[in-house]
């Protein structure tokens, strides 16, 4: 394999200008104009995804009843609103309760007893797309949104559960290897994006929602705890929550069901937050943190991102791409060593083995030991170099 000179955007980028894409899911009306100065709450566009569409619910077949009897099994009268998954009609067959539920939130508009069907008009909520960051509109994307030019800093996460939010960053825990427990969550975290250390459990997520915190940033989270929060009434199997049949979907689950946005920097399980990331965040306590979460349908590699932006937009400060070199701080990302912080002690080398060549980098662990690791297992954390 030829040695490829590859540069990377580090996980932490500071003092740069970003072009941030903000778009609605389906065609909408864009109100932003080029050169508009925006703040996080500035409305860029509106969308109405389900307008004009109806869904036919085959109630008689779902319940196994005669078509001309479906009206008597409705749980609410025609004209009622239903949440997604809420039972529209219900009957009992032997010991079992059979329900026909609404595939999406909407209003029951009609029942046809000739066919045993009902018509659901999905909610057509007008969703507003906020800018989420401070900056200036660089480009208007007709019918979709805008590109915002913003100055500041960015942290790339690994995955997130929940919706996009912004708020002042508050530090709730003093170390990157400590768990955020419910008792550490106090009412003063209301409206905040909370720096939560290593991890948190379902109880802490619920407590954060109770105090109206907007988001929490942790190193890792147990997948079972996330499932517990997303489906409190039943225990869904892992495949039911995390699996999609194939590629093309980012690992951002159940945004509408998450009580609070959880932004994860390392991965699943119990892994401390990488110390440079914790320090980067802790230094910014009080600043507005904007959490951008990949939409359903985004590429699987699309990571969530956290921005600290400022009202003044610099003319040009491009993101510095770096490559492994002596002193560059990085972390290992293979499942066994997830989040282990190391310092590169050289550039990329080509190592030929029995099954072909691979690019490797010599790294130094905090214990002082050194070894070569595959470049594929390394993520560069910051452009700042540490001397040997």
């Amino acid at each position: 394999m030829a040695l490829q000179v590859t540069t990377f955007e580090p996980v932490i980028v500071e003092d740069a200008v970003f072009l941030i894409e903000r778009v609605v899911r389906t065609a909408g009306e864009v109100t932003a104009r080029v050169n508009d100065l925006v703040e996080p709450e500035t409305k860029l566009a509106t969308e109405s995804s389900e307008a004009g569409r109806t869904l036919t619910l085959h109630l008689a077949r779902e319940l196994g009843v005669a078509p001309n009897t479906v009206s008597r099994y409705l749980t609410k009268p025609i004209g009622s609103a239903f949440q997604a998954g809420e039972a529209v009609a219900r009957t009992r067959r032997g010991l079992r309760v059979i329900t026909a539920s609404a595939p999406s939130a909407g209003t029951l508009t009609a029942v046809d007893e000739a066919t045993g069907t009902a018509t659901l008009a999905p909610e057509a909520p007008t969703r507003e797309l906020p800018a989420l960051v401070y900056g200036q509109v660089d480009t208007v994307l007709e019918g979709r949104g805008a590109l915002i030019r913003a100055s500041g800093a960015r942290l790339r996460g690994t995955f997130a559960v929940g919706g996009e939010v912004w708020g002042p960053l508050k530090v709730a825990i003093d170390r990157p290897d400590r768990e955020l427990t419910p008792d550490a969550i106090t009412p003063d975290l209301s409206g905040a994006v909370v720096l939560g250390g290593m991890t948190l459990g379902a109880a802490a997520m619920r407590r954060l929602a109770e105090v109206s915190a907007r988001a929490v940033i942790v190193g890792s989270v147990s997948e079972a705890e996330v499932r517990r929060v997303l489906s409190p009434s039943e225990v869904l199997p892992p495949a039911g929550v995390w699996r999609s049949l194939g590629r093309g979907r980012a690992l951002a689950a159940g945004s509408e069901r998450a009580p609070v946005t959880v932004f994860v920097t390392e991965g699943f399980g119990r892994w401390p937050m990488a110390a440079p990331i914790f320090d980067f965040l802790a230094r910014r306590e009080g600043q507005v943190a904007s959490l951008l979460v990949p939409r359903d349908g985004a590429a699987p590699e699309a990571p969530p991102e956290l921005y600290f932006t400022v009202a003044t937009v610099e003319d040009d400060a491009s993101i510095q791409r770096i490559e492994p070199a002596d002193g560059v701080v990085a972390r290992l990302v293979d499942p066994t060593h997830l989040g282990t912080v190391v310092t590169c002690r050289g550039g990329v080398l080509l190592e030929r083995g029995p099954f072909g060549a691979q690019e490797v980098v010599e790294v130094e662990f905090t214990t002082g030991t050194r070894r070569r690791v595959p470049l594929a297992n390394l993520e560069l954390l910051t452009a700042e170099a540490q001397s040997s």
Partner: protein, 593 residues
Amino acid sequence: MTGINVERSSDASSGVETFPTQAGMNGPQTRDAVLVVDVDGAAARALLFDMVEGSPRFVAVGVSRSTAVPPLDDPAPGIVRAIRDLEEQTGRALIDGEQLITPQRPNGDGIDACFVTGMPVPPLRAALITVGQSDLRRELASAARRTTTILADSTEDLPEGDGTVSSTALREWLALARPETVVLLCAGGTPDDWTVVLDAVADLARDGVVRSGIVVSDDAHQQQAAAALGSTLDLSGTDPSTVDAREIASALESELRAAYARRVSEASSGRLLAAARFVDRPHAVQSVTAFLNRRMGRNVLAVSMSEGTVLQAALEGRGAAVHRAERDLGSGVRSLLAIPPEDVLRWLPARTSTEDVTQWILNRALRPFTVMESQADRLMAAALQRELLARLVREAGLPEQPDVDLIAAGPASPGESLMLTVLTLLDGIQPTPAAGVVSVAADLEGMMVSAGAIAGSDPAYARDVLEQDFLTPLATCIVITGSAPEGALAVRGELRREGGESTRFSVPAGSLHRLPLPEGETATLILEPEPGFAVGKREPGEVVRLEGEQQVFGAELGVIIDARGRPISLPDDREARVARLQSWLADLGVPAE
């Protein structure tokens, strides 16, 4: 609605498509130097073959990280890097500017023909929705899974319930599957069932997700589908009462194979591979498996695990295949969540939990192309692969514990432990050859797919490559069947090397035993099974002398006596199971942590 083409076009049925050619250029003809580019989301590999002393031989392989996945989403830069690596290794120039040098020049630069294989663009996505019950469903699903298609099958995924189609469940399932093509099979059910299906598909079509539909039903149901979907979907149909089921399945396979080849062709806008010929991976593996079966007279099972997994078997002249384009340990790892974690856990020689299994998969999904450096990662990967292989054996329609005497697997990846690979293949496939001997070989360089790609155009060239350079023997395994209390003797025997050195051995039931025998050497193997035990499917207690033409061949890892019986059983008790797995690893010298 147009009729589905039940006569297989030669190109589609062979899985061979030509890239858009430049003016005045025809498709490639193999001559001397042949370049095969095997690219998917994980890696780009460029393999060079050329004539050496009058015979086509493998020269070298260049490898690069793939750029076929985001953020680049374009395989070309990765392919160029792989070819540049090849140039560096061989000292030959292969690219001039943006084009391959062709034909080969007198100084050795350039090539005469180029093939592309693998999965250079994302696989097709299809959904098979069956109303009623029919054996045709299985045929259609199998046909789709012989192509580069991620197939969601409603019968497999949706709860059976009372036999009717649930509108809600169907819609949710379709939203998750997001198929570009739907195959609608009407084989009974009620008129309402069919209406529910058409309504749900129509909704998805309005969102622009699904673009084409194939309706397999009588004429009346086809007309109903045409009325509901004809304005939004490109529809074709066939009536199973007038066309043989296998023909319909074959036509579906051709349609999907041709559709994928078109997708590859449309995506390859650059001039680099303008004259290259595309051969899809399942078809390439099929060519090689059939060749090995014919040429060597052996029951062959080939596994190609890269992006997606192909399992292809040729047993006693009968072929069986399955390609799960979404199931692998890379970007498709999340699909392995469909395997119950308890099933994976039973293969782990450590006290881990089902949540650890799930979290390992999810962490791998976040960074699918990391190299497995630690033994813990390799053991987890091997546990998943065992269960994946076992499922693929079933999906391919092979019997459990198939009568296989040659297993070929590849390509190898950095960090791979060959002994663990052999154990994984034995555990996942559980080969039970009638004669008791199964060879496990590795396709280290990824030549299986490459030679298969050449075979469609130049079988003689591919044959020579396969005969001389293809497989690296990893182990000769002797399968002992039968059972007895753990620790009781299963077989004893003697290995007599050609040089005269002799090794006597005895192997307890439920264990493995390794006898070193280097590649290139042969030996006579005498096996004396205890009463109740047999070599393969021979008579219990029958003494077997593998000598003369039946001599065992040396391999990288020697001879392995597998006295674990069939099916391989694991204790229910966790502690006992972990101890058993650790002992098997120790038998073969594989670290357990």
